[in-house]
């Protein structure tokens, strides 16, 4: 459904370097990484808002530039912030957007308006950030899109609405023909719904694997500092030391289990742990 191969984009101060990943129908892929890692750049490249330097992007098996119009007709895009005309009302904005989609569904749009408690006559500039995101989501979900691409949709939203969004996304994915590509800082959201996790840091893909595999592969090792020597340190992707002990992320938790037995405690990391330790080192 979405295939990115060796994607490269060089800016003066930042380079998106050889990014590759693949998303199949019926799955949700979480796209995680710290600020400035290249998440939004990757999404803008997929949407052809930025010009790639090299690499290949295929959506629904088609080249994303050659078949741009056909592809975008089948993508529901939810932005990280509001790019709507603030002086317009929700209805006026919808009337501008709807004619561009061949499968626009007014019933569905009205359903989401009610579901999200949005008043179509309300000016967009009067909406709160959460309400703007609800509107953006309603637009993205009202034209029977096969692929939903969301750039930080839950940032700045309250937990109740975040959960509401996750439930909607979970419902969408049930027919196994659609897919969702979801970039976020809030990794706990992904732990609830994502099937795959793609982690990007400093413009490079760290991994792109099934979520369960990611959580199984890594381990947080805790122990006393006396256990740390040069070789042991090399086994950690990230390490935090205190006066009383250490805590580190490793890709080989079994190795520590075998070597140190009960001298260390090994815990399953969260996605946030993996991201934080990998970035900090």
């Amino acid at each position: 459904m979405l295939e990115v191969k060796n994607l490269t984009k060089d800016f003066k101060k930042f380079k998106l370097d050889n990014v590759s990943f693949k998303l199949e129908p019926g799955y949700i892929m979480g796209f995680i990484g710290p600020n400035g890692a290249g998440k939004s750049t990757t999404i803008k490249l997929i949407m052809n808002l930025l010009k790639k330097d090299s690499g290949e992007i295929k959506v629904f098996g088609m080249d994303h530039i050659k078949y741009e119009k056909e592809i975008k007709d089948r993508i529901g895009f939810v932005y990280d912030e509001s790019y709507f005309y603030e002086d317009l009302s929700i209805k006026q904005m919808k009337d501008i957007i709807a004619p561009f989609y061949t499968k626009w569904d007014d019933h569905k749009f009205n359903y989401y308006m009610k579901e999200f408690n949005l008043d179509p006559s309300q000016k967009i500039k009067k909406l709160s950030k959460g309400m703007k995101m609800k509107f953006s989501l309603a637009i993205g979900l009202s034209h029977n899109a096969d692929l939903i691409i969301m750039d930080e949709p839950t940032s700045g939203l309250d937990p109740v609405f975040r959960r509401e969004i996750l439930d909607i996304l979970y419902d969408i994915i049930q027919d196994e023909e659609k897919a969702i590509f979801f970039s976020t800082h809030i990794t706990t959201d992904l732990e609830k719904i994502a099937d795959y996790i793609t982690f990007i840091n400093d413009g490079k893909i760290v991994f792109s694997n099934p979520k369960d595999e990611v959580l199984e592969t890594y381990g947080i090792v805790k122990g006393t500092t006396s256990l740390l020597d040069r070789d042991t340190r090399k086994e950690f992707l990230g390490l935090r030391e205190t006066k009383v002990g250490f805590e580190g992320l490793t890709e080989n938790p079994d190795k520590f289990r075998r070597k140190y037995g009960n001298e260390v405690i090994i815990e399953k990391p969260s996605l946030e742990d993996i991201m934080v330790y990998s970035v900090r080192g």
Partner: protein, 214 residues
């Protein structure tokens, strides 16, 4: 394509404030203008009004970064550009009609300027409007929005001064004659204007298709 043109029209008249502004703009312009040559009022009003109508959607896009939203819709970039060039021509017709309407009303209530709309005014303003649009649209479609806004105001003021306000033998009619006796050879003039406009459109398509949106 039609949806894009409709969007531009809707944006111009989307709010009460913009509708009121567009209604009172021409009467207000007449109040504040100090033009020695009374015959220049007509072209000045048509061109100013057409320019404002064309630039308003770009200003909306600059303020809200809405070009990102538009670009994420199922639209070919080429269509975005072509729609802007068609919208500009529609805006010219709206400007021409509304200026004629306002000045006719003022004439009726004996507040007019005593100059009637004629073919020469239409030829002059078409020429200048197409020239302004051919320079300003590529700038709008390529440069960062705020910079494009500033550049285009400068372009508009310079061209307006050269072609509309410059006195004596440098006035618009003489300059048009360089392009082949506009008044005598309408076909040639239209062909020249068409080529300028299409060339500008081609350049804009290239610039817009290779542009990065941030």
């Amino acid at each position: 394509m039609i949806s894009l043109i409709k969007r531009d029209l809707k944006l111009n008249f989307a709010t009460k404030a913009s509708v009121i502004f567009l209604i009172i703009f021409l009467p207000f312009l007449m109040l504040i203008m100090e033009i020695n040559d009374i015959e220049r009022i007509y072209p000045f009003m048509i061109l100013s009004y057409g320019y404002i109508l064309t630039s308003m959607p770009f200003r909306y896009d600059a303020r809200e970064k809405a070009d990102l939203l538009i670009q994420s819709l199922p639209i070919k970039k080429r269509d975005v550009v072509i729609s802007k060039y068609i919208s500009a021509l529609i805006n010219y017709l709206i400007a021409l009609s509304y200026t004629w309407f306002v000045l006719s009303i003022l004439d009726l209530i004996k507040l007019g300027i005593g100059v009637n709309l004629n073919l020469t005014i239409i030829k002059e303003t078409v020429f200048v409007f197409i020239l302004v649009s051919s320079i300003s649209l590529p700038a709008y479609l390529r440069l960062p929005p705020k910079l494009a806004g500033v550049v285009n105001v400068i372009i508009f003021v310079i061209i307006l001064n050269i072609f509309v306000f410059m006195p004596g033998d440098k006035d618009i009619t003489n300059i048009i004659n360089i392009f082949g006796e506009f008044s005598n050879n309408g076909f040639f003039a239209i062909a020249i204007l068409g080529i300028i406009y299409l060339l500008s459109m081609g350049i804009s398509i290239f610039l817009y298709e290779t542009r990065d949106l941030y």
